[in-house]
Symmetry: C2
Subunit: 414 residues, 2 copies
Amino acid sequence: LEVWDSTIKKGLNLDMTRGKPASEQLDLIKPLLLDTSLAEDYRSEDNTDCRNYGNLDGLSELKRFFAQYLDVTPDNVLIGGNSSLSLMHDTMASLCLFGAANSDGKNHVPWNKDDSKKVKFLCPVPGYDRHFSLCEKFGIEMIPVPLKEDGPDLSIIKPLVATDATVKGIWCVPKYSNPTGIVYSADVIKELAAMPTAANDFRIFWDNAYQAHHLYDRKLTILDVLTECARAGNPDRVFIYGSTSKITFPGAGIAVMASSPNNLKWFKKLLFAQTIGPDKINQLRHIRFLKNMSNLEDLMNKHAAIMRPKFASFSNTVKAFLGPEFTGLFCSEPQGGYFINLTLGDNLSAQKIVSLANQCGLKLTPAGATHPYGKDPDDATIRIAPSMPVLADITKAARIVALCCVIAKRKLDV
Amino acid sequence: LEVWDSTIKKGLNLDMTRGKPASEQLDLIKPLLLDTSLAEDYRSEDNTDCRNYGNLDGLSELKRFFAQYLDVTPDNVLIGGNSSLSLMHDTMASLCLFGAANSDGKNHVPWNKDDSKKVKFLCPVPGYDRHFSLCEKFGIEMIPVPLKEDGPDLSIIKPLVATDATVKGIWCVPKYSNPTGIVYSADVIKELAAMPTAANDFRIFWDNAYQAHHLYDRKLTILDVLTECARAGNPDRVFIYGSTSKITFPGAGIAVMASSPNNLKWFKKLLFAQTIGPDKINQLRHIRFLKNMSNLEDLMNKHAAIMRPKFASFSNTVKAFLGPEFTGLFCSEPQGGYFINLTLGDNLSAQKIVSLANQCGLKLTPAGATHPYGKDPDDATIRIAPSMPVLADITKAARIVALCCVIAKRKLDV
């Protein structure tokens, strides 16, 4: 309790709620802000004046770059604005309002057409709160599905999608998943691509946010889901998303979507009414900075070098502090991505611990945010975002989290 | 006919379909691409690191700037992405899916809720094809209303909106209207703000695209529609839109929306699920370039100096060429904006003339594009976009248009 009192007195003021890059990482991108080449050389490779209107789906040099990045072909790629979340939003809005693309060039029935048959989505948990917010916005009912070490639990998913035609899709973060950091196995990806679904407009939202965001030298790869879907006879099943939000600048980066030619045609037709085109100046600025895959790898190695000690420090500090008393507590050790996941066990309440940490001036992602409707039935998951604070603060934060666990476990009254 | 043959032979290749700024205008914006200050000085006035996530509705310095620009207060302003069309799209999508904001904090019935009662929109004609595309996308029935010299014909509008609750809104380009160039009078604006409507969720889409886009020293102003709506007891009636697409760079500029606090709260709540935030780097870049209203005025004067001779050349050439034979033909002489409008008369067919011009290598906006569903019942309107080509080409284009009129009128077989 003395430790607690002194911790409170120190009055830390630390926000670890969101997966934001650190200032030091953003400094790596400075050359992008120093590039004045665009003032004279504002044309893309097809001679488009990028200062003027036009080009709905992105410059061809960007499509090639992101095709390599996502391990697809350039014909499968659409370059968006500054936000992959917006691309996901607009896809879901279009599915609700206008229906999915059918193989005959027409659309399926819009998802919000029949109020009596509410559309449902599978949500692997723990997962990303922004995905859940999208479902909530469009009135899509969320069904939580456990996320295992190799992907979502197919023994639950397969019978559900095979029999219930109102189950229209699933959220997936296939690589360095938010927040557990797991990576989908080849078998899971093949099964998701091939499994029979009662809904013939079933769609996978494949948010590949951390494709190049490795923490260690061992760089994990995943199977190309688009090819697997096509091979299984479900070419239009998947929408893939990515962005440079955690490669260059969050909010001032480039978002990308990849899908089948049929799906892209459908999306572009709807997009045509929405915008004359994305920011091509920023596209050129990005391709001149990012250059190619080898240059990107160098950049991501630099990001990793900044992030790695923070991840290690948090995990090691928590484990050293807590000791064997906490048999049920599991602190994930991800190989990439932006989050550490604490699974509490030991009858500890995530809400209680987040609230205690808050008293010490440490803001954590609200307990429950990792689950649909903000409700974690076990109240046992805490998402830790160690990217933004400086290393010294991460160690402090880890000590506070561990201290809060001790206080909660010993039911000390603070 | 000899003139025709020699014109064909010259094989002009000129695109005057869209209101794009000329390359010379875009060169005015070069300093924005040469500004490297952001590499070191990336913070907004409230100390936000603009390289990172956050800020849903724009930096406060941008809000102040655009509040002055649109003649509203900063609290009424939301800064968007790169496209005002996207803001209009998202507003309309939200009205269709979720219903307009009500004064009690809840929403009205969504516009697409009841298929049997199709929502209708008033479309002053001639008007802007992108507005019509939005209505088409969302299945909103368009009712054309004549646009007069001082705004849309209120003698038609007022009885319609007073009695038909399915008439939910109207498109307005209040200043230097696309394509006729007319400016709404104070009386018309007051009546639009105050007129009784059967629909209590009636909305005006006020696309103020050319607020600062004067061609001459005489700079026309319009009444602040937001204040007029509030004064008339209809505070939530209007959404105002603008952008820097024709101030800085089309596609790489800043879009803005202004409305009542109640409407902005409603919009931001829906926007929250769609994006973490707009491109703040580009916002900072813009405010450092645009600075203030006086600097903006200087810039717009430079734009005007480039545009003015093109507008004059087109009108003068057409009129000189055609002479008094063409009693019904009217070539608009706008005081601002991006378009000249040809109203044909003399039983001339706009489709015929656009097609003849096309044979001469001059691409014009398709006849009918100025009307809902692409159908101009009189087939008498041609929108001319003189901004993009160089001056010498404008004169050639005007001669071709005039020649096509002569050929159509004399029913010559070419």
